[in-house]
């Protein structure tokens, strides 16, 4: 199994939480502004209760909890220019991709097998590979099967919204309290550039006519979910030159209709994927363009910045994919499921969270004291989860990016640097991949790093910081920042 899961043993068997690394004396801070921010904040208790263990709806939860998708809903009712339904690859990780389609019974078996091995599992989602609402027979049968076994899982679905208004009441009956709708436009003229056709009530509609129907159904579905008190996340694919600036209007429209979270994702476009956009040469946005847009959207609907655009059969923590460990041939006919490890894990996380929040709060206070005015900095982190700097640089397949200034430390996003997936082989290629992923970042925090890669990074103008192994991300960044840019820096030089 991948080492990227927060190992339960590392938490259970290591020091008691009271002896966990203390906030460094240099001060620190945190307010990870992603999804539901880093904690309850001013969120009403009943909503906090819904999102606190959901890795997609809470940035904080994604450090601790895992999700799985079961690919039971292959049928779809629209065609998107960024999707090619014929394509599949076990090494690709992106929405709509799956290796095997499951029947509802097989899906229930798989969920039980995963829950037995991955105590971090908190969420079961159905995200196609087609549309979960259009393929409602399979979706609802799956939730029925799984809820017999594991009523304490959170259930969620994602949809393009076209068939959504037909099933809102049934969603509530199935106890599905998280729904993701992909909304890329509120203007049918823009929609016509993204959706060549839709299939609605027995007919295919193309162009602006099709996009208008889709838009109206999306808004109706969102409004009705809000009325029902079901939490909604809106996914928008950022397509440069087509809807990038328009997403500001989309953000306003969905906020007005009660969306809980807005997730702007970069278009994934490659001719090899065989999508219309891939073949036409339509490019995806650069990390900096995505961040610019996300920053413009601050103040609107809550933004999700930690999305990994996962597969329709993804399993594990958000930054990892264990789907290949749980293919049908690898799971037992009748997996035994014991809820106790999951319950224990949740207890551990509650303690760990309380400790982390305390450390982060005191660090934040100290940062406010020591740093008066300094430039905001982007830093990259190597982490396996748990909110700590706990990964060797050489093992990092992605970096989490945080922004720090005198006001605090905020989660900004992640950068993929997966050697295999981006086509590199061997160490030299890997460095190029990492350098490209770290564009615009001068500092990377690691649990450990070899001397050669450290020197290589230095040559490229990137400093590897290894003084804070296993500490909380926010406290470490804050301590480092206070050292560099705070008053403390001067006093320490004099001392």
């Amino acid at each position: 199994m991948s080492s990227n899961v927060v190992p339960l043993t590392s938490i259970l068997r290591s020091r008691p939480v009271s002896e966990a690394p203390k906030a460094p004396a240099g001060g620190g801070c945190s307010s990870s502004s992603c999804g539901s921010s880093d904690g309850q904040g001013d969120m009403p208790a009943h909503i906090w209760d819904k999102v606190k263990d959901h890795p997609c709806y809470s940035e904080e939860a994604h450090h601790y909890f895992a999700r799985m998708h079961v690919a039971v809903a292959p049928a779809c009712n629209i065609q998107c220019n960024y999707c090619n339904r014929k394509y599949d690859c076990a090494n690709e990780s992106r929405p709509g991709v799956t290796s095997e389609k499951l029947t509802p019974e097989q899906a229930a078996r798989k969920v039980a097998a995963v829950a037995a091995k991955v105590p971090q599992l908190s969420v079961l989602g159905i995200a196609g590979p087609g549309d979960s609402m259009f393929d409602w027979r399979h979706t609802s049968a799956t939730f029925r099967e799984v809820s017999k076994l594991m009523p304490d899982l959170k259930y969620c679905v994602s949809t393009n919204g076209l068939a959504l208004p037909d099933h809102v009441d049934e969603l509530a009956e199935h106890n599905i309290d998280h729904v993701t709708i992909t909304i890329n436009m509120i203007d049918p003229e823009i929609g016509a550039l993204i959706y060549p056709w839709i299939y609605f009530k027995g007919k295919r509609y193309t162009g602006i006519e099709g996009a208008r129907i889709l838009h109206e159904r999306q808004m109706e579905g969102l409004e009705r979910l809000t009325e029902k008190g079901i939490l909604t996340k809106i996914n928008s694919v950022m397509i440069p030159g087509i809807n990038d600036q328009h997403l500001i209007e989309v953000n306003k429209a969905i906020k007005a209709r009660g969306a809980f979270l807005h997730n702007v994702m970069p278009l994934i476009s490659d001719a090899a994927h065989g999508t219309a956009f891939g073949l036409s040469g339509q490019r995806g946005p650069k990390p900096a363009e995505l961040k610019d847009l996300q920053d413009k959207l601050a103040g609107g609907a809550n933004l999700m910045r930690h999305c990994r655009q996962c597969r329709a059969d993804a399993v594990g923590m958000l930054g990892e994919d264990l789907s290949q460990d749980f293919t049908l041939d690898k799971i037992p006919e009748a997996p035994s499921y014991d809820p106790e490890p999951r319950r224990l894990y949740r207890e551990v996380v509650e303690r760990e969270r309380a400790d982390r929040n305390k450390a982060v709060a005191s660090a934040e206070a100290e940062l406010a004291e020591t740093v008066e005015e300094a430039p905001a900095k982007l830093v990259a982190i190597c982490t396996k989860g748990g909110g700590r700097i706990n990964q060797h640089f050489g093992h990092a397949k992605e970096f989490q990016v945080f922004e720090v200034d005198a006001k605090g430390v905020r989660f900004s996003g992640h950068r993929k640097a997966d050697n295999y997936c981006v086509g590199g082989y061997g160490d030299d290629d890997k460095l190029d991949v990492v350098l490209a992923a770290l564009e615009g970042i001068e500092t990377v925090f690691v649990a450990k790093i070899g001397r050669c890669p450290k020197d290589d990074l230095k040559k490229a103008g990137i400093e590897a910081v290894d003084q804070y192994p296993f500490e909380y991300i926010e406290t470490a960044i804050a301590a480092w920042y206070a050292d560099r840019f705070g008053n403390r820096a001067e006093t320490s030089v004099i001392a």
């Binding site: 292959p74 009712n77 065609q79 339904r85 014929k86 087609g130 299939y199 295919r204």
Partner: protein, 62 residues
């Protein structure tokens, strides 16, 4: 008067089975097939299976 599914093109998504008004489509050995005796080509309307199929050229005249 019947349509057929080109097996090599079929993604087995099942959208056509769901939409066929004559229940003439079913799964056989991992791909969907149209039972010729049941297919009416939707009696002059645009055939629903063709309208919903995500692969152009997958469902054709038999």
């Amino acid at each position: 008067m019947a349509l057929k599914i080109i097996a090599d093109e079929c993604t087995s998504c099942g959208a056509c089975e769901f939409e066929c008004p004559n229940a003439a489509i079913s799964l056989k050995n991992d791909v969907y097939v149209i039972k010729a005796s049941g297919c009416t080509e939707c009696d002059g309307d645009a055939p629903k299976c063709q309208a919903v199929c995500p692969v152009e050229g997958c469902i054709v005249q038999g």
